[in-house]
């Protein structure tokens, strides 16, 4: 699990046209810059917005990644809700902290 690097990739995609261009033209090379496991790489490639949410990606990053792939607002919310049903609760990060020991 390298939630930090999944989020870092989305952060840079959201703000940096050069990263976006590499994402569009040579995603293989781009992904090697981040310490991602197979499940993470696959979720980014599909993209599986719902699974990324379950992995713990922050919505403030994820909603822009979804928009980049043409998700309308309701579709974006729906993808996350469906993934919760399919995969269970959020595994890590802030949203995952509710079910675990306090992180505060």
């Amino acid at each position: 699990m390298s939630l930090y690097y999944v989020q870092k990739l989305l952060y840079q995609l959201n703000r940096d046209p050069h990263t976006r261009s590499r994402y569009e033209t040579d995603i293989d090379s781009l992904l090697t810059d981040y310490d991602l496991d197979e499940e993470e790489s696959a979720a980014i490639r599909r993209p599986d917005i719902g699974l990324l949410y379950v992995m713990g990606v922050n919505g403030q990053l994820l909603m822009h990644y979804a928009a980049l792939h043409g998700f309308e607002w309701d579709e974006y919310i729906g993808a996350m809700r469906a993934a919760l049903k399919e995969h269970g609760s959020v595994r890590a990060g802030l949203y995952g902290s509710v079910d675990s020991e306090s992180k505060f």
Binding site: Q7, N14, R15, N58, Q60, A67, Y95, F104
Partner: protein, 274 residues
């Protein structure tokens, strides 16, 4: 001179990006109060507007996250988001590097804040400016308080940061206005988007309107997260404005939960008696 204007507003991206999906009457009442606050801001003839914001991983990320940061650029750009998604056209926004530098220097005497000479405003600043200074003719000094990635600055520290900022502004000759933008309760960009804890919001607003430092700073992050969502962390921006206007009460212009805007939409002004 003392601050010439102070207020707080919401900034949810849906306010401009999904405006057509909101209840028309509520939306128009919100917009009207946004513009009312903007008109009053204009009447105060500010030389600069300090916007205390809670940005959302647009410029500051967890590789190097400052608890507090202030812009120190001649100009800024925004929105960083897709123009159509946010419903706000990308543009340059004037800053005031010289005055920012002076304020940063003075703040550093007591607060180890970061400064930034390159800052792309996200919806957290662009949505308020879209209504308050729609001509983008007032130089902006942005402040960011990290409200996204815990660990977060303590609420009492946010109040004291605001107090120090207000004290510094009061000693400067410029006419300075301040607007805080954030919260209150919301679960932005999650499956719970649209959920709003109105009773929690109204209780918080009571504390804010009476500038009750003890009550404002008594929340723990855990109880805020559970009762008010991640978006609840953004109360720090409101609290900083309370600190900057210590001793002054506020007036609530508008509050209503608007689920498609994903937040209890708020417009309020501080009755300055500084």
């Amino acid at each position: 001179m003392p601050l010439v204007f102070a207020g707080v507003v919401s900034h949810g991206p849906g306010i401009t990006g999904r405006y057509e999906r909101a209840d028309k009457e509520l939306r128009e009442a919100l917009y009207e109060n946004f513009y009312r606050l903007g008109a009053e801001l204009k009447e105060a003839r500010p030389d600069v507007l300090i916007v205390v914001a809670a940005e959302h991983f647009a410029n500051f990320f967890m590789d190097n996250m400052p608890a507090y940061a202030m812009g120190m650029a001649e100009y800024y750009e925004g929105p960083i988001e897709d123009e159509q998604w946010l419903g706000i056209k990308r543009r340059k926004i004037p800053g005031n590097a010289q005055l920012s530098g002076l304020i940063v220097e003075k703040l550093l005497q007591r607060f180890d804040l970061a400064y930034s000479q390159e800052w792309q405003f996200d919806h957290g600043i662009m949505v308020p400016l879209n209504f308050l200074t729609p001509d983008y003719d007032v130089p902006i000094i942005p402040v960011n308080i990290n409200c996204q990635g815990p660990p977060l600055t303590p609420l009492a520290r946010a109040y004291d940061f605001g107090r120090e900022l207000g004290r510094i502004c009061a000693a400067l000759p410029e006419r300075i206005a301040i607007v805080g933008t954030g919260g209150i309760s919301h679960w932005p960009a999650t499956p719970d988007s649209g959920k709003i804890n109105e009773s929690w919001d109204r209780e918080f607003l009571e504390h804010w309107l009476s500038n009750d430092r003890a009550a404002l700073t008594a929340y723990s992050d855990e109880e805020t997260y559970l009762a008010a969502g991640q978006g609840g962390f953004e109360i720090r921006t409101f609290i900083a404005v309370s600190g900057a206007t210590e001793g002054c009460t506020g007036e609530l212009y508008f509050y209503a939960p608007i689920p498609i805007f994903a937040v209890g939409c708020t417009v309020a002004r501080v009755k300055l008696t500084l």
